[in-house]
């Protein structure tokens, strides 16, 4: 009990150390390279902008947070479904994979009109855009994991009279969980930028909107204040995902 409490303190402390360390590095870079505020504002300047615009930033942050979560959720769902169905049928994989790969090479501005046409300017078009970015690493990694399942386990399952579905459910899914983890990590890491890209489709709120707007008004500190919040979200999300995966992968070897 006490021990865990201790370690928890230690963890928090380490987190704080890293956080301030990175801020320090940022500061050094900004000053050391003599970068003007409109290129890279220093931490205090950004802190000021953060404080000054706290209410308005907070409001937009909530919107983006919401988009991130929905985008990640939808992306995961999509990725898992695709991975599983491709693992099920080689032919399907042959037809689907090229589409997925192509989908990754479509820039948002080419897609935006269609997204808006179909989903309107509401949150759904943004979530869709975000999901489009997020689903792929999940699908690719998870599919890879599914196809690399230890053959012996599948043979055993077959001798036990398991349907392909049962094999998938009880053997392959679990066996591919580490691979899914890799995919999920990447997905989580790019979820925030996914949301920002989503807002690029045209939105009246969210940190991406704030950044674009501040960028147009040359209010670089505000832009970086929003970016700072976004980074916090990114790291936070990453941390949560890692905890979840640690919990799910209790059985997988981990040298780290």
């Amino acid at each position: 009990m006490i021990a865990t409490a201790h370690t928890r303190f230690a963890k928090a402390g380490r987190g704080l150390a890293i956080f301030s360390g990175l801020i320090a590095i940022w500061w050094v870079v900004a000053l050391g390279l003599r970068l003007p505020v409109y290129m890279l504002p220093t931490p205090p300047v950004v802190a000021e902008a953060l404080w000054a615009g706290r209410d308005f930033l907070w409001g937009h942050a909530l919107i983006t947070a919401w988009e991130i979560l929905l985008g990640l959720g939808l992306g995961l769902l999509l990725g898992v479904l695709l991975a599983v169905s491709m693992a099920f049928s080689r032919t399907l994989e042959r037809w689907l994979m090229p589409v997925l790969v192509i989908s990754q090479s479509i820039p948002i501005f080419a897609l935006a009109p269609l997204l808006v046409l179909w989903l309107g300017f509401g949150i759904s078009s943004k979530v869709a855009a975000a999901a489009l970015v997020i689903f792929f690493p999940v699908a690719a990694s998870f599919y890879d994991g599914l196809r690399r399942t230890e053959p012996g386990w599948l043979e055993l399952a077959r001798t036990m009279g398991a349907s392909r579905l049962a094999q998938l459910r009880h053997v392959r899914l679990a066996a591919a969980l580490p691979a899914f983890g890799s995919g999920l990590r990447v997905g989580a890491a790019i979820a925030p930028i996914g949301a920002v890209i989503g807002e690029w489709v045209g939105s009246s709120g969210g940190l991406g909107y704030v950044m674009l707007n501040a960028n147009a008004r040359m209010q670089t500190p505000v832009c970086f204040a929003a970016l700072f919040i976004l980074s916090l979200m990114a790291v936070g999300l990453w941390h949560v995902v890692n905890l979840v995966l640690k919990y799910l992968l209790y059985w997988a070897p981990d040298s780290a």
Binding site: G152, W153, E155, L156, A157, R158, T159, M160, G161, A162, A166, Q167, H170, V171, A174, L177, Y250, W251, A252
Partner: protein
Amino acid sequence: MAMQLNSAQPARTDAGSKVAPPGVRVEHLTLRYGENTIFDNLNLRTSGGRLTALLGVSGVGKTSLLKIIAGLIEPTAGCVIGTDGRPVADRIAYMGQQDLLLPWLSVFKNVTLGARLRRETVDRVRAERLLEQVGLAAHHKTLPAALSGGMRQRAAIARTLYERRPIVLMDEPFCALDAITRANIHELAAEMLGGRTVLLITHDPLEAARLGHHLLVLQGCPATAGSPIAVAGEPPRSPDDPNLQKSQGQLLRLLMESQ
């Protein structure tokens, strides 16, 4: 970790073996890996409800044969069929040369995997008795990673015995067990498998002679099956059983020749 054998109920009350289980017929079997021919038109036949011990020098093709019977390897030619004329692949319980325990499942869940795979209700009582009989009662919730080699193998044995199948294929199932544990497991296996068609690969002539109704030696390359030795008396035979001594010697001689 003493073994309670008393609690083991005789196999003939088992669902799987109510109808007399069929023997296995291997016909015109050919298996090639590249230019490496393992079997060339191999024919053999094991009698139903009996335990046939399969021996042979390392690399001769024992595991391959078992896997073909289990339907896990597609032979180059030939077929495997039950003496009742029906295919066997869907009536077997298979224990591979590796334990193949799923690392994310507790010992108990590994043992009852088959039930969950077939969406049957798990027979907790049976599973727990089995774990007790193989001496893993205390390791119920343990993950495979926390087991010793022999414990892993015993878990795999329990998993195989849990399956109520008329035909049981076991690939060196006892090789990682010490003499004493092995002797106990022998008796357990003999009881649980009594009345079923069992094909058991082993490297231990004593083991073969203790448990087998018939002893079969694979030899040569491509592998051919020698004529089976029938061992008198009912397994498990006690170590001082004269039949045992006799057939063991016979077997050793055969193996020597097979080199």
